[in-house]
């Protein structure tokens, strides 16, 4: 009979029982999962059951983790994105959140670039921890992303992005993400990238401050290969700050647009 053991198809004896499988494969396992449900009683396994045996506190190997995570990815998605590369310019509220989502979904290579350090004021919306204050953002984010998914490649570069260096930084990406803060920087990155790389799509964001209605944030195709997420108008300014919920909504619009582009779908 065939079953999936830790997401790999294996041959086992007919009528094999769960505890017997544990004895064979992982005697110290203390978390037994059949077809997505934790179980505590011994039972007879059936053809094509998916059995996962975990020892609490034990870090799975990268290969095991990839198998376990693949089970959570929609069929066909993981294969299409695991060899793709996404560039993220800026890892503040938008970029750190986008990078986290793309790491969880399993994009194979992320290039993250930012010159800045983690500051206390960042913690209201950015994916950093209070014990990371003072670290370069790209270093702190790389550590956090590795803890989520050690199986992907992360290129972390602490540098200010200019019209001159962006070809060197992002020349190899399949999709580019604009996740900077100042309007001038956003326009500079977008214009220069789209002009220099006539084949590569770019996903940018504009307008996500305050606590206006969630549904005012949209994803639009605004020019050739240029997708814009946000409400388009709500700037960060004194009295209207950037906060986790709405910045997170815009960031996940961007992350989903990237995923759709990698899968050959129109983001809009």
């Amino acid at each position: 009979m065939l079953i999936y053991f830790n997401e790999q198809l294996i041959h086992v004896a007919p009528e094999l029982r769960l505890f017997a499988l544990r004895e064979q494969k992982k005697p110290h396992a203390d978390l037994l999962i059949i077809n997505g449900y934790p179980v505590s009683e011994d039972q007879v396994l059936k053809e094509e059951d998916r059995v996962v045996l975990i020892q609490r506190g034990e870090q799975p190997t990268a290969a095991e983790l990839e198998q376990l995570m693949m089970a959570r990815h929609t069929p066909g998605v993981h294969e299409k994105i695991k060899n793709r590369c996404v560039g993220i310019a800026g890892v503040g509220g938008l970029g750190s959140t986008i990078a986290t989502a793309l790491t969880r979904v399993g994009v194979g290579h992320l290039i993250i670039v930012d010159f800045d350090l983690v500051e206390p004021s960042n913690l209201n919306r950015q994916q950093y921890f209070s014990d990371q204050i003072g670290l370069p953002k790209v270093q702190a984010l790389q550590e956090n992303l590795r803890r989520i998914n050690p199986g992907i490649k992360i290129t972390a570069i602490q540098q200010r992005i200019t019209a001159e260096n962006l070809s060197n930084l992002f020349g190899q990406v399949d999709v580019m993400v604009e996740a900077l803060d100042a309007a001038e920087q956003k326009a500079m990155l977008t214009s220069n990238f789209l002009q220099k790389f006539p084949e590569t799509p770019l996903v940018a964001a504009s307008g996500m401050a305050g606590f206006e209605a969630s549904n005012s944030i949209r994803t639009r195709k605004v020019a050739e290969r240029f997708y814009l997420c946000g409400d388009g108008t709500t700037a960060a300014e004194p009295g209207r700050g950037l906060m986790a919920p709405r910045v997170g909504i815009a960031a996940h619009h961007q992350a989903n647009a990237v995923l759709r582009l990698l899968l050959g779908e129109e983001p809009e």
């Binding site: 800026g90 503040g92 509220g93 938008l94 970029g95 019209a163 996740a179 900077l180 803060d181 100042a182 309007a183 001038e184 956003k186 326009a187 500079m188 977008t190 214009s191 220069n192 789209l194 002009q195 940018a204 964001a205 504009s206 307008g207 996500m208 401050a209 605004v222 020019a223 050739e224 240029f226 814009l228 388009g232 108008t233 709500t234 700037a235 960060a236 300014e237 950037l242 910045v247």
Partner: protein, 66 residues
Amino acid sequence: MRLKINGQLQNFAQELSISQLLEQLQLVPEQVVVELNREILTVDRHATTRLNDGDTLELIQFVGGG
């Protein structure tokens, strides 16, 4: 001169460069992405690029925050 800007036709009395058009529309050039007839034009080309009757433009204004 008639220009199609962000999907809308607009009339202009005289010939314009992109820099002059942005000034008339009260847009800050450094905050705007300009696409002219499906080609992106960076800021350094705004002053030297003349617009012609019938041109199609997308002007995308960024606001701060991220």
